[in-house]
């Protein structure tokens, strides 16, 4: 390897440190106008009338749009097309957009918002999942499965109940993971303009230009060929820019109506309303183990608080159960899930998409199991690790798995065996593991086309231009693209120009979500680069007088033994021989073995693995938690650029620790005289607590390389997986420190104090949800696991699950 594995400045590094990276709000076009949205102050209401006359006649206002201008709905998933750019008649959360004003500047647009008179008829508010379960009316969406229950899912892979009955011990635990939000520092922005041919261009801070493109065509009723969506580099995404946004539709419509460029940039409060963040999830785990500490079976129930719209929610809900099987050998598994609608900003995918919540529960429960069985938590996990190249109970195909090495690394480096359970009261260590997708096996909408395409253009100057729809959100997707092509062609990554995330210029790539980019774009890039390499090798071989397979590419040279030419010269010979040089490559994941309906969520070309040890200090007088150090080891398959890979791991540790200790998107009711509305408690960066530089502990990062054959040069994902074990490792460390279980996130000092108080009174030293409500889960789809003679099809209940969908 000449390029891969070596620490390098990322290809877009210079632009980022000079202020030259152009984010969406940095675009200023001639004659550009500005848009602001009017948002509902009611959590749940019907719109009776909107009077826009005064706003329209306000000096400097060019256009006012309302729900009437958007007859067509949209939604990221084909099964939930339940949103409108502007709500036509029904608002479902405080912040739901109802009107848009376009004016000469933001100030004028903001003034005009106050001149729009909306008459609402408030409806009763559904504020919690418990209310959604018990109050079918008023119904937030008519299409939901049952009252205010959006979706119900149930699967059974082997008779889990029997496995629990026969197990030596059964552990039953209820956990709660509070919702939280992405908090990208860049507020969402979009600019729309109509070009000289009358075609529309939308520049947006989106992670998914391809999906925005499709939905714009639907909502605007325009040919997709006349729409170009450019994903600007995102100023942080974390999943928060993977949904289709109201403002993208509204600003596009306005530009078409006015024939002038229009920009919108959400303010910070609006970003909290846009949300699509971590779903609050209540979960109940019943897990059976043998006295030797082998898992016998698990029954997991989840209750997912979706907020006001569908978004990615159906997929998120599947993900609260789909990946429980890919880490430890689980012979039998039953999973039941429900997502409810509530009158809060819609939830969606945040880093780890639906899997951090059950991962928290599973890993804390394993800690309890180890304690009860008198086993070391690391030993318990090592004993149960799933085998490489195996099938799981729910028919996922697991490839390489470097988790044992990850566990060994973090336990050795933290001196786990000499310090766990042996430190003075108030100090402790906690261990947890995690696993994640390297891209979802299926696209969001059903199709058999490639999930990523790369096009290469090479000429006699030796310049290489790579076109790909993948989106740079800070994770380094452009650097991965350049590095992989450079590795194949033996050139420097800086000699590759990346043109990415532009539906008008680049082959389709589904976007930056589900940790799919390295694997899918990387494989497509190898495919394209290998095709062009063959041509160049053939032309160069003629010059060198050898056969093409003996020609090597490295360090900007094409050579055989000590005869060489520059890459540019070789490209010139190839151009002479074959004409203008270009190649395309594409990638589609292998077909997953599961055949039952619902098997579409969970498959991935490969899975990444992580182990983490957290050290915690807890002050028993105040409950204050300090984390001095975290050890983390991530099985990345192969490292493309260790500087960026380490950054992804440490960024995940940061975000995970922040979620563990403080982040929460929570709501409160205004007093009755102020409408009693359910409002966001803290829609500001100041009050939405997140870790600062002062709170960040030392992080010891190890990259474990267990290459996976499905991945480019073996490289797996690194952007999301390392977040997963952090939260449970914190909870487990707190238990080791002061002997209390906090079974809900975030773990705040008041919860620790409450648990310590209970402990001192001789009560259960635990704070967390006390009960799991009755949920009308349906009869499960019954699928025998591979070792019970199944073929991946359901034997019962297969008719009711209607979905073929996947995402992250």
């Amino acid at each position: 390897m000449k390029v891969l594995g070596k620490p390098r400045r990322r290809v877009d590094g210079r632009a980022k440190v000079t202020g030259q990276t152009q984010f969406a709000d940095d675009i200023f076009l001639p004659r550009m106008l500005h848009m602001r949205l009017l948002r509902s102050p009611h959590p749940h209401a019907l719109i009776q009338n909107i009077d826009i006359e005064k706003a329209k006649s306000h000096l400097g206002v060019h256009l006012v749009l309302t729900g009437k201008d958007f007859p067509v709905s949209f939604g990221i998933l084909p099964v939930t097309q339940d949103e409108y750019a502007l709500a036509p008649e029904h608002v479902r959360y405080v912040g739901d957009p109802v009107a848009a004003v376009v004016a000469k500047d933001e100030q004028t647009a903001t003034e005009a918002l106050d001149l729009i008179a909306v008459q609402y008829r408030p409806l009763a508010t559904i504020s919690t999942p418990e209310e959604a379960l018990t109050q079918p009316e008023p119904r937030i969406h008519a299409y939901s499965e049952l009252g205010n229950i959006h979706r119900l899912q149930a699967f059974q892979f082997g008779d889990a109940e029997e496995a629990l009955k026969n197990a030596d011990c059964v552990f039953e635990d209820v956990f709660f993971y509070e919702g939280n939000t992405h908090l990208p520092i860049e507020q969402h922005a979009a600019v729309a303009a109509v070009d000289g041919e009358g075609k529309l261009t939308l520049w947006s801070s989106t992670q998914v230009p391809h999906y925005v493109h499709r939905q714009l065509a639907r909502v605007l009723q325009m040919p997709a060929a006349h729409i170009r969506v450019v994903a600007c580099p995102n100023g942080g995404g974390f999943g928060g820019k993977t949904d289709i946004c109201n403002h993208e539709m509204a600003v596009a419509k306005a530009a078409l109506a006015l024939g002038r460029p229009v920009k919108i940039c959400l303010n910070r409060e609006e970003v909290f309303y846009m949300h699509r963040g971590r779903h609050p999830v209540l979960m109940k785990f019943r897990t059976g183990v043998t006295k030797e500490g082998r898992l016998a079976g698990m029954h997991l129930q989840t209750l997912v608080d979706g907020g006001g719209y569908g978004g990615y929610g159906v997929a998120s809900t599947f993900y609260t159960g789909a990946l429980q099987t890919v880490t430890y050998d689980l012979p039998r598994y039953k999973f039941e899930a429900a997502r409810v609608f509530t009158n809060k900003p819609p939830c969606g995918p945040k880093r780890g998409h639906g899997t951090p919540q059950p991962r928290f529960g599973q890993e804390v429960q394993l800690d309890k199991i180890a304690e009860k069985l008198g086993m070391d938590p690391a030993e318990l996990r090592l004993k149960n690790l799933i085998k490489p190249n195996s099938l799981t109970a729910n028919w996922l195909k697991v490839g390489s798995i470097g988790l044992a090495e990850c566990i060994n690394q973090v336990t050795e480096r933290s001196n786990w065996h000499s310090r766990y359970k042996k430190m003075p009261f108030g100090r402790g260590l906690g261990l947890a593991c995690g696993a994640y997708l390297c891209g979802a096996g299926l696209p969001i909408y059903w199709n058999k086309m490639p999930q990523s395409g790369v096009q290469l253009l090479i000429d006699r100057s030796g310049q290489v231009t790579a076109f790909c729809g993948a989106t740079e959100i800070g994770q380094g997707s452009d650097d991965v693209l350049a590095a992989i092509i450079a590795e194949v062609l033996g050139i420097d990554p800086f000699d590759v120009r990346c043109v990415t995330g532009d539906t008008g210029m680049t082959p389709v790539d589904l976007g930056s979500y589900s940790s799919r980019v390295t694997v899918m774009m990387g494989n497509a890039a190898i495919d394209a680069a290998n095709k062009i390499k063959l041509q160049i090798a053939e032309a160069a071989a003629e010059q060198l007088g050898v056969s093409p397979e003996r020609v090597s590419f490295a360090n900007g040279k094409v050579f055989f033994e000590n005869q060489s030419m520059t890459f540019g010269q070789a490209a010139g010979f190839a151009e002479e021989k074959f004409g203008t040089l270009g190649a395309v490559g594409s990638y589609k994941p292998p077909r997953a073995p599961g055949r039952y309906k619902g098997a579409g969520v969970g498959p991935s070309p490969a899975y990444s693995y992580t182990a983490c040890v957290v050290e915690a200090e807890v002050d028993p007088a105040t409950g204050w938690i300090t984390v001095p150090k975290i050890w983390i080891a991530h099985d990345i398959g192969r490292t493309i650029n260790p500087v960026l890979a380490r950054g992804q791991v440490e960024g995940s540790v940061y975000m995970g620790l922040s979620e563990a200790l403080m982040e929460e998107q929570v709501f409160r009711r205004l007093p009755p005289k102020l409408s009693g509305a359910l409002v966001h408690k803290i829609p500001s960066l100041l009050e939405y607590k997140s870790l600062t530089s002062l709170d960040m502990p030392e992080v010891d990062t190890v990259l474990v390389e267990d290459p996976d054959p499905n991945c480019p040069f073996g490289a797996k994902e690194v952007g999301q997986g390392p977040l997963l074990p952090v939260m449970p490792a914190v909870a487990n460390a707190i238990y080791d420190a002061v002997g209390v279980r906090i079974d809900e996130l975030p773990i705040t000092p008041d919860k620790v104090l409450r648990a310590l108080e209970k402990k001192s009174k001789g009560e259960s030293a635990r704070v967390g949800p006390e009960r799991f409500p009755a949920v009308p889960y349906p009869e499960p789809v019954v699928v025998p696991p591979p070792w019970e003679g199944g073929d991946g099809n359901a034997v019962q209940g297969h008719e009711r699950t209607r979905l073929k969908v996947s995402s992250a």
Partner: protein, 165 residues
């Protein structure tokens, strides 16, 4: 109609004049009237630090400063950090060591770090943590930012030593 005000100030060492509505913040004037979009915004309420610039050498949140207050003052932004085509050691270290992921908080942190290193050429890790505690970064986990500032301090002191030889 609102009347614009006319203000003269020094931006990145060059004399500049701008005409703008008097309620505009320095952030808005830099980005909208002076084409200096390198300075970012994450809240416009003084909470995130993305808009930090130097006013007379002191780090300030440009979203909390009225541009009219800057008449006659000297304002430094990320655009003025590099010496021509040559990156400032802070910029080079940030690019080399992974301190910029999405790059959105980067300009504000670079300017804050510049002010720190001018006052304290060899800050401890603790001082660096304190200095940038008002700059939120959601990507990096801060480790590589700390390391880049330390590396830049090294490079700057080596450069200074070389100049003194």
């Amino acid at each position: 109609m609102r009347r614009n005000v006319q203000v003269g100030l020094t931006i990145n060492g060059e004399a500049a004049e701008a005409s703008f509505a008097p309620y505009k913040t320095l952030l808005e004037v830099l980005r909208e009237d002076l084409d200096l979009t390198g300075t970012k915004h994450g809240c416009e309420l003084g909470e995130c630090g993305a808009c930090a610039v130097l006013v007379d050498g002191e780090p300030k949140l440009s979203c909390l400063v009225l541009a009219v207050e800057c008449a006659g003052k000297s304002v430094d932004t990320v655009e003025g950090l590099a010496g021509g085509a040559k990156l400032h050691p802070l910029q080079a270290a940030f690019a080399d060591l992974g301190a910029a992921q999405c790059g959105y908080c980067t300009p504000g942190i670079l300017m804050t770090a510049k002010a720190l290193l001018e006052k304290e050429p060899k800050p401890t890790r603790e001082r660096i943590k304190e200095a940038i505690s008002g700059n939120l970064c959601r990507c990096t986990g801060y480790q590589q930012i700390f390391e880049a500032i330390e590396e830049a301090a090294e490079r700057l002191s080596t450069e200074a030593a070389r100049r003194n030889e």
